[in-house]
């Protein structure tokens, strides 16, 4: 999310600044990357339940924290983020 906001990419609004409140940073996370990130919290699951264009691999990108050893990640931004 931070990377996208910094680069002014369309589709990730992130209006709550990354506090898992607004669900405007919805992305699809490729299966091969999922193991590099924590499981979604209850809060994140709840928000994703009714987000537009939800899929099994939906995540809120503000909760995808890049850690040392993470080789990188590719996500797809749905068409409907706010």
């Amino acid at each position: 999310m931070d990377g996208s906001v910094r680069s002014n990419l369309a589709g990730i609004v992130a209006e709550c600044g990354g506090s898992c409140s607004c669900a405007t940073c919805h992305v699809y996370l490729g299966e091969e990357y999922a193991r590099h990130f924590d499981e979604p919290s209850d809060e994140e699951r709840g928000l994703l339940e009714c987000v537009d264009q939800v899929r099994p691999n939906s995540r809120l990108s503000c909760q995808l924290v890049m850690r040392d050893g993470n080789p990188g990640v590719r996500v797809i931004v749905p068409g409907a983020n706010g």
Binding site: E15, G17, S19
Partner: protein
């Protein structure tokens, strides 16, 4: 008009978002963003929620952003007047800047009390990063904090200061907390929660003066003669739109810059966005002041579309959030008297939702730690989905199952 020069006055959430959106939309003309403050444009929500820790200073965008996006950010520059006929603004120091489109995103200021002692040292407001730094510094040496105003800002500060070990009293003029902004059952549950955090809540408390000792606040005097001792006071009694520049230039203002269609002012080349506006809200008559980041972002999108001549974005259901200790509050729709109110709660859980509905349609939700309820309700409100009211009160059934065929 993709080469048009856009001048944005105000570098808060709305103004900064608009500058970025214009470039995302392919705008190739000059973009100038004026901000009175010297700090990088910053996130406002953490100021009242996280001032107790080291995690409340967050820039909206890093400094490189403005360079890379060719946005001329002018910190510390104060705009002193507008000249709509010449399409020109004047700055402190006499400089003038021309524009093709002007966007006023001047925000709001914290309302001050005018009672005796209100300017004593230790009587604080909270709106800016500077205010939050001051509050944090002064709280470090404080034992008793009096908060005037039981609205969202007051309660956020109460929760955060309570965690720091400060004794907190909230003084609310009305007969209950959140009187102008939340429903009775919602406010009652929040009152109970804050009392469980050892916050003292006094309602019907009309503040008539601040007592001083050696120039510093030492207590709050109430109309009924009570004197409440404190060594720090925070005033959170609402915000006043900063519409002076617009009013002086002859733009239509009514406690906020009046916008329609949807962010244009009474001058076709001037837009206004964010907390300073009195704006249309779908489904409601008249103009409304929505002080929230979602509203600011939505209006930035609307102004961007109008400036670029692209299709306007889909209208949104107004919403906002608040964090109070371990509670995350999310409110969508406009809470008003009239609709039926249903509480959805489990006895053992701190999470709950208050649902407002009329003719089997939701009009608003006030939710606490209930993100799935919130998201489902917001969607129902947006689409005008008919719902089965019997399911609303049953927390064992997901709210999204309330959609009637």
């Amino acid at each position: 008009m993709s080469r048009a020069k856009v001048v944005i006055v105000g570098a808060g959430h709305a103004g900064t978002a608009l500058a970025g959106l214009l470039r995302q939309g392919g705008h190739r003309g000059e973009i100038v963003l004026f901000g009175e403050e010297h700090d990088l444009p910053y996130q406002r929500p953490p100021l009242s929620k996280k001032f107790g820790g080291d995690d409340f200073e967050h820039a909206l965008r890093p400094a490189e952003f403005f360079v890379e996006q060719a946005i001329t950010w002018c910190p510390g520059d104060r705009v002193t007047s507008l000249d709509p006929a010449r399409k020109r603004i004047a700055l402190d120091g006499g400089r003038a800047v021309d524009y093709d489109f002007l966007v006023l995103a001047t925000g709001a200021r914290a309302r001050r009390l005018t009672v005796p002692g209100a300017r004593a040292e230790g009587v604080l407001g909270l709106r800016t990063l500077g205010d939050a730094r001051r509050l944090r510094a002064m709280l470090a040496g404080a034992r008793k904090l009096a908060i005037v105003g039981g609205g969202y800002i007051g309660l956020e500060v109460a929760a955060a200061a309570g965690v720091m070990g400060v004794e907190v009293t909230v003084l609310e003029r009305e007969s209950r907390l959140l009187a102008r902004v939340a429903s009775k059952p919602f406010a009652a549950r929040m009152t109970e929660y804050h009392r469980s955090l050892n916050t003292t809540i006094v309602t019907g408390a009309q503040v008539v003066r601040f007592h001083e000792r050696d120039g510093r606040v030492a207590g709050v005097g109430l109309a009924d003669g009570q004197l409440l001792g404190c060594d720090l006071a925070l005033v959170g009694v609402g915000a006043v739109p900063r519409d002076e520049l617009a009013a002086a230039a002859g733009l239509t203002c009514d406690n906020g810059i009046v916008v329609g269609d949807p962010t244009r002012t009474s001058d076709a080349s001037i837009f206004a966005i964010g907390d300073v506006t009195r704006r249309p809200v779908p489904g409601l008559a008249g103009g409304h002041r929505l002080e929230s980041i979602p509203s600011a972002t939505e209006q930035a999108r609307q102004a961007c579309a109008a400036i670029l001549g692209t299709a306007p974005p889909r209208p949104e259901v107004p919403w906002f959030w608040s964090d109070q200790h371990e509670l995350n509050l999310k409110i969508a729709g406009v809470v008003r008297p009239g609709p039926v109110v249903t509480v959805r709660a489990r006895p053992s859980s701190p999470s709950f939702s208050v649902l407002h509905h009329e003719n089997n349609m939701l009009t608003a939700i006030e939710s606490v730690n209930a993100p799935a309820d919130f998201m489902a309700a917001r969607k129902f409100i947006a689409t005008g989905q008919r719902i089965d009211p019997a399911i609303l009160a049953d927390p064992e059934k997901p709210l999204r199952a309330a959609a009637a065929a």
